[in-house]
């Protein structure tokens, strides 16, 4: 009886450890399975039939129905220039120039990976709508209120830990992502910056 109880306990502990570590890996281990381009992260294997099981599991949770990298590249940014999580109480500016993609967009997602529930309808900016200068340079304000910003992503009710996703569609053949080509995030003000 005692032996049966011990085996039952071993099975339960094993199952809990196995499933718990799998969920923990998917929840917290994404940085191990992504590539970095400056502060942006992406997975070349996203959506690919050649993706490993961990990449597939992470993508399924965070970006189900993502396109393979032959069609689109998805880059994520969830830290500021000091490595702190992006948060609603801060004001940021994202700046960049012409991107090499046929079409691109930048979308703000709340920590649950859905659009923030704020009623502002300022979820994204894209190549067809962004207001750029004569040289193709542009700036986007990321803040809870638009103020005087021309290009604006609303972070109202996005809480702490929101992220930006840069979608690049139809990159040129043979093109290699370079940090210098990607938009740069700068913190304009952050009254409650906490590590």
């Amino acid at each position: 009886m005692r032996r049966a109880f011990a085996w039952a306990a071993a099975v339960l502990v094993g199952l809990a450890l196995g499933v718990g570590s799998a969920l923990g890996t998917v929840e917290f281990g994404r940085n191990t399975f992504v590539e970095h381009v400056g502060p942006w992260t992406y997975s070349r294997a996203a959506g690919s039939t050649a993706a490993g099981p961990y990449t597939r599991a992470i993508i399924a949770r965070e970006a189900l129905l993502a396109l393979s990298s032959e069609e689109a590249t998805y880059l994520s940014l969830d830290r500021d220039e000091n490595g702190l999580p992006l948060q609603e109480s801060c004001i940021y500016e994202l700046s960049g120039g012409a991107l090499r993609a046929r079409w691109w967009s930048i979308t703000l997602y709340a920590p649950d990976f859905f659009l923030a529930r704020n009623g502002d309808h300022a979820f994204s900016v894209d190549a067809t709508r962004i207001d750029a200068d004569a040289d193709g340079r542009w700036r986007v304000r990321i803040s809870p209120v638009q103020g005087e910003a021309v290009n604006w992503l609303s972070s109202r009710d996005a809480r702490r830990g929101f992220s930006l996703m840069l979608r690049l569609y139809n990159l040129p053949d043979g093109y290699t992502l370079r940090s210098a080509d990607l938009p740069v995030l700068r913190t304009l003000s952050c009254p409650s910056a906490q590590p």
Partner: protein
């Protein structure tokens, strides 16, 4: 092995097996949930469902893009091949196919098919019907077909919705008289 050692070893072996099974099952579970949602719990298989314009209330699939008009078809090949057609669209569009493990095994976009596209989807190894359009093999019996039409404004979304009436997702039928 004596004492508690065998129990600890047993727990470790079970933990490793459970870990690997969970990692491999997770994409299938996520896809299963998505297919159930998109097909109304299986009531609308092999037919396009045009999504409402993406807003903060769009919660079916994580990280939706508000710049696209999406149409999804949950396909089921258990009764034979499925015909999929995409009506033309004036800006970027793509047709992508996802197996039940979430792999994106096929993509076609407007660069390759400016005037729209038609494919016949069938199980791996199945014989294409005689009058089938471009045959595409699916690694799984069920999966999701997704059309993305670039439509970043309300007007563009409404136009995309109108265009989507020409899309087809249905069991393949040989032409009458063939």
């Amino acid at each position: 092995m004596t004492g508690w050692g065998k129990y600890v070893l047993g727990a470790l072996i079970i933990a490793i097996a459970a870990h690997l099974i969970a990692i491999n099952m997770l994409p299938r579970l996520e896809m299963g949930t998505a297919m159930d949602r998109l097909s109304g719990q299986g009531a609308r298989m092999n037919m396009w469902q045009m999504s409402d314009r993406v807003t903060e209330d769009s919660r079916a699939i994580v990280r939706p893009s508000p710049d696209f008009a999406y149409a999804a078809c949950v396909y089921d090949l258990s009764h034979g091949p499925v015909r999929i057609a995409v009506a033309p669209w004036s800006a970027y569009w793509s047709l992508s196919l996802y197996a039940d493990n979430s792999d994106n095994f096929f993509v076609l976009d407007d660069r390759e098919a400016q005037g729209g596209a038609e494919i016949t989807l069938l199980r791996t190894g199945a014989q294409p019907p005689e009058h089938a359009a471009q045959a595409v093999e699916s690694p799984s019996t069920r999966g999701i077909a997704l059309i993305r039409r670039l439509a970043p404004t309300v007007q563009a979304y409404n136009d995309a919705r109108a265009a989507s009436r020409g899309d087809i997702c249905a069991l393949f039928q040989e032409p009458a008289g063939s």
